[in-house]
């Protein structure tokens, strides 16, 4: 009985640390992205009804889109592509950014100068324009999208993690670790990284939101994920005519984007206020 009570208490939101809340919310989206499409009642490209922009009904719960395809199924696939592309690109940008950011605290000054100038250079191109430019050159394959988003947000991650790492590198326990004769990798992995985990997590969350916004904007402009694949932005784009009829096909994907980004932002806001 008491075991169950503790179990329930652990499930209560207020009992979770902010980091656990961020990870929990993100985990929910990731599970939905991976498993969601298995529960889709129809194939995403299958035209199931002659009625386009059909309202909600028991046959297709969320109605149909501009070609009479099942919106619910397409939405599940759209979440998959949006979340997975953005997760991969965030992993890329934050991985590169954090590695470079920490590494340049220990390398000679000229390495930091070069890295800093390069990052400033990328930062000096507004992100949407940078994405347009890269897509014009390399096309809009999924890999190109992931790498584009990844590279665009690397400088931000680099700056944040460098600032954090510089502060930590001045701490006494780092001096102690160096004096103990620890290797550079040990110091990075065991001393620096664990101590910047909290602020870093908030930064990663922010980059993820930026990536979702940029990808949605790109797809909305028709330059992101291409048919037959579908993501949330392209779902809005293809159904935008339904706006006139107040169709769910255009409103629901926008709501999903909003829930995804605002939700993560709110949880992050909660972590930074503490």
């Amino acid at each position: 009985m008491s075991g169950m009570a503790t179990g329930l208490r652990a499930l209560r939101l207020s009992a979770l640390t902010p980091a656990q809340r961020v990870m929990g919310l993100f985990g929910f989206w990731l599970v939905l992205a991976v498993c969601g499409p298995f529960f889709a009642p129809y194939a995403p490209g299958q035209i199931i009804d002659t009625e386009v922009f059909a309202p909600l009904s028991h046959r297709h719960w969320l109605g149909t889109d501009y070609l009479g395809r099942d919106l619910g199924s397409r939405l599940l696939y759209a979440v998959r592509y949006t979340v997975l592309i953005c997760t991969l690109s965030t992993a890329f940008s934050c991985g590169c950014g954090v590695l470079l950011g920490i590494a340049t605290t220990a390398t000679p000054a000229w390495v930091e100068q070069i890295a800093g100038r390069l990052m400033d250079g990328i930062l000096s191109i507004p992100s949407l324009l940078c994405a347009l430019l890269v897509i014009a050159a390399f096309g809009d394959s999924l890999l190109a999208l992931v790498l584009t988003l990844g590279v665009i947000y690397t400088p931000g991650a680099y700056r944040t993690s460098r600032a954090l790492a510089l502060r930590i590198a001045r701490m006494d326990y780092i001096t102690v670790a160096v004096a103990r004769g620890e290797g550079a990798l040990f110091i990075i992995w065991r001393e620096i990284l664990p101590n910047m985990r909290g602020p870093l997590l908030a930064d990663v969350g922010l980059r993820f939101i930026y990536a979702v916004l940029l990808l949605s904007n790109l797809s909305f402009l028709g330059l992101g994920v291409q048919p037959p694949l579908v993501d949330l932005g392209s779902l809005v784009r293809e159904n935008v005519l339904g706006l006139v009829y107040g169709s769910g096909a255009v409103i629901l994907p926008t709501i999903v984007i909003g829930v995804l980004t605002v939700g993560i932002n709110l949880v992050l806001d909660g972590t930074s206020r503490r």
Partner: protein, 318 residues
């Protein structure tokens, strides 16, 4: 203006020029990385080897990369950005009217957004944690965390489709009176301004709260300085630098917003041309548009940094 400040400003301008060089190289490099040959693309399937060769020569494609880069830079400096691959017209001729339209849109938005954001941001910071501040925080957080097209499509749905107060498309050729001008610009400017303002308000609020928490502010309150005087003499002079930076950074988000807004409202501006060109892979236009946008962005951020430098008495040497 003294020597110390001048040196700092010159250094900042030098850094901006370095960034500009990076941007120019990046823009050129990406187009050089384009798969396929422009000459093949232009001539299509029934190209003879001779014709391809002649066109390659005419486009300087047979020259080494660095020579082409110099050619390209030289052309840009003289305002000659080449010809459109699609229409064959000079890029500068296609860009000029569009640039004017975009500047009109961006200018109108800036005029609306900056003063409003300043007032609202200051109010939020002054009455921190009040109901007003909380409502603004939720509102601005909501706006910055949804994509730009969402706000635009929703407002089109509400104001143009449901209430029919404004046109859904911005056909600026049909403007004949002042009233029409305001109606046509109302939607794009309002949506663009709300996106830009949300960013600005958040940043200005953060800067002002930072300034308010400084010891000299507490000192001013303790020695009984009236609130207006605290604001004008103690808080604002110290906030000019960060606030200028916040405004410049948000205006750069306006550049990104412009791309989406112009497409949605079918506004004949630079950004719409750029999106169309990316779809049709019309490289010279993409290059020229990106360069224009990046130069604007660099100009804004550099200007903000210079204002920030000049606003710090330490920098002035006073």
């Amino acid at each position: 203006m003294n020597a110390r400040l001048a040196r700092l400003v010159l250094r900042r301008i030098g850094a901006a020029l370095c960034s500009l060089l990076f941007v120019v190289v990046a823009i050129f490099a990406l187009t050089a990385a384009l798969p396929g040959d422009v000459a093949d693309m232009l001539l299509g399937q029934n190209a003879t080897p001779d014709a391809t060769q002649a066109l390659r020569h005419a486009l300087h494609l047979d020259q080494p990369l660095w020579l082409r880069f110099m050619h390209w830079c030289g052309g840009m400096l003289h305002g000659n950005a080449g010809n459109s691959l699609l229409t064959g017209r000079p890029v500068s001729e296609m860009l000029a009217p569009r640039l004017y339209n975009s500047l009109l849109l961006a200018g109108a938005t800036t005029l609306v957004a900056v003063p409003l954001a300043l007032v609202l941001g200051l109010a939020c910071a002054t009455w921190r944690d009040s109901v007003f501040d909380r409502v603004m925080t939720v509102l601005t957080l909501g706006i910055v965390s949804v994509p730009a097209f969402l706000i635009a499509t929703v407002s089109v749905f509400v104001f143009a489709v449901q209430f029919r107060v404004v046109p859904a498309l911005s056909d600026i050729r049909s403007i004949h009176s002042v009233g029409q001008f305001f109606l046509t610009f109302a939607m794009p400017v309002a949506t663009l301004a709300s996106i830009t303002m949300a960013q600005m308000i958040r940043m200005i609020r953060a800067c002002m709260i930072d300034v308010f928490s400084a010891p000299y502010m507490e000192m001013a309150v303790i020695k009984g300085v009236p609130p207006i005087r605290i604001m004008l003499h103690h808080a604002l002079p110290n906030a000019i630098g960060p606030v200028a930076n916040a405004i410049a950074l948000s205006l750069s988000s306006l550049l990104g917003g412009v791309v989406v807004i112009e497409t949605i409202f079918n506004y004949p501006g630079l950004a719409q041309l750029m999106v169309d060109s990316v779809m049709s892979r019309d490289v010279p236009i993409i290059q020229a548009c990106t360069l224009l946008f990046c130069m604007t962005y660099l100009f804004l951020t550099t200007l903000a940094d210079i204002v920030a430098l000049a606003s710090v008495p330490k920098g002035r040497g006073a």
